[in-house]
């Protein structure tokens, strides 16, 4: 088992428990305002929370937060950029997957201001993958994308999980997408999972 979560509580959620296995995509569903984003934030340790969380048997509070977030990485629904060019946001120039999402290498030199919302979203995913996370927490990662790019992102994520023995917890509202990618589905309602 890759990610083990037991009795997780935040101010508005829980207690909840869940498991993620390697190479698995678990779809997280739930009505708007159910706390899906909050759950992802708690797992990435961005929102205050209590409970037992283990990655590959290693307890979270024994892992420095900086390392934890590189391993259990959150891709928020809206991406943020703070330097002038794309490449400055990448911790390493070794971005293997640029071509897989339809970018040429020169994309790293692009100024942020010329990016479309779809390009921002795809590049934010690539930026995250540079850290080689073991768990991907994806908050509607294809919300701004057309069908073609949606399929590219899906197949990249599947490929990444297989190659890295990683797992994903994926918030999606798109039924056809869920059919294409889901290993299983969990629902968050009234602060608890089922």
């Amino acid at each position: 088992m890759l990610l083990y979560v037991e009795q997780l509580r935040t101010r508005h959620l829980g207690p909840l428990s869940l498991r993620l296995n390697a190479a698995e995509i678990v779809i997280l569903q739930g009505p708007s305002g159910a706390g899906k984003t909050l759950l992802l934030r708690a797992l990435a340790d961005l929102a205050p929370n209590t409970g037992q969380v283990r990655l590959n048997g290693e307890t979270r509070h024994e892992v420095p937060p900086v390392q934890w977030r590189q391993s259990v990485a959150l891709l928020p629904s809206e991406s943020h950029w703070w330097f002038g060019s794309v490449g400055e946001h990448f911790s390493s120039a070794k971005t293997t997957y640029l071509a897989a999402l339809g970018f040429e290498d020169a994309a790293l030199t692009w100024p942020i201001t010329r990016l479309s919302s779809g390009e921002r979203q795809r590049l934010a995913l690539l930026r995250l993958l540079v850290n080689r996370p073991r768990v991907l927490l994806l908050d509607e990662p294809t919300a701004n994308l057309d069908t073609d790019n949606t399929l590219k992102v899906e197949s990249l994520i599947k490929r990444y999980l297989a190659e890295e023995h990683a797992a994903a917890l994926w918030v999606s509202h798109d039924d056809t997408q869920i059919q294409r990618v889901a290993s299983r589905i969990i629902r968050l309602e009234n602060g608890s999972l089922r």
């Binding site: 990435a44 340790d45 961005l46 205050p48 937060p65 991406s79 950029w81």
Partner: protein, 269 residues
């Protein structure tokens, strides 16, 4: 030293009458600032008269305990002023404590070093040096710290998305705040940097003007003015750095999470 021309109550009254006239004029034009102008003028009159009396009292005694007591009151009031100027202050005792501590640490150290080493007053706590120096240093450091903290907390709220995006890429809190830190420090230091750059060319600094009007030789007044500008820069810089450092610590918790809930809710909420 030339004897300064002493001012009579009539002289001051004339200036006051002109301010009143201006207040009436703006009121008559419906500009709505006359009332606050009159109140502020009255406050200045009363506060400065009281300070004059207090200084006269302390100067004649030259007792270190009295100097310390006045200095303490000054720093506590300045700390109050720092927190009052912030849109998003830290909640609880941190709000007052953080600004006051930074003020205290920088202003007192800089004033002490000046009295002991640079001016070498005898005795070192000689109130006619200690209190005006501390007052000028405190006043400017207070503005710097208030600007820095106000910027830091407001920017942290506005740029929460950016800060958290940086945390999510595996940066620690300090790195994630690097741009905010620079902006906060700049906003605090720009006024004193401008004051130094413009000193003597665009404006004659108030302290120097006051000394010259009171009969001091211009070159002596200039030397003191340069000293004061440097001390203010030093104290503002140190105080601001301490305040930003403490503020950053408080913005994150032990798991390097951005904790905007450590700020009091904004008055407009």
């Amino acid at each position: 030293m030339n004897e300064a021309i002493s001012m009579s109550a009539f002289d001051l009254g004339l200036a006051a009458a002109l301010v009143m006239l201006l207040a009436l004029l703006t009121q008559g034009l419906g500009l709505g600032i006359g009332k606050s102008m009159v109140i502020a003028a009255l406050r200045a009159l009363i506060q400065l008269s009281l300070v004059g009396l207090a200084l006269k009292f302390v100067f004649t005694r030259s007792d270190p305990l009295w100097v310390a007591a006045i200095a303490l009151v000054m720093v506590l009031i300045a700390g109050r002023e720092v927190i009052a100027r912030q849109e998003r202050r830290f909640a609880g005792p941190w709000g007052y404590g953080l600004g006051t501590l930074s003020l205290f640490a920088s202003s007192f150290v800089v004033t002490l070093v000046t009295l002991l080493v640079i001016i070498d007053a005898k005795p070192w706590y000689e109130p006619r040096y200690a209190i005006p120096l501390l007052g000028m240093i405190l006043g400017n450091t207070m503005t710097g710290i208030a600007l820095a903290l106000d910027n830091l907390t407001q920017l942290a709220c506005q740029q929460r998305g950016v800060i958290e995006a940086r945390l999510m890429l595996g940066q620690d809190g300090r790195t994630a705040l690097s741009q905010l830190r620079r902006q906060s420090l700049h906003s605090a230091m720009i006024p004193i940097i401008n004051a130094m750059a413009a000193a003597g060319v665009v404006s004659l600094p108030g302290m120097m003007t006051g000394q010259i009007l009171a009969g001091q030789a211009p070159l002596e007044a200039v030397k003191y003015q340069i000293l004061v500008l440097f001390l203010i820069t030093l104290a503002t810089g140190c105080g601001t750095l301490i305040a930003i450092w403490l503020g950053e610590k408080r913005l994150f918790d032990e798991r390097q999470r951005l904790r905007l809930d450590h700020l009091a809710s904004s008055p407009s909420d």
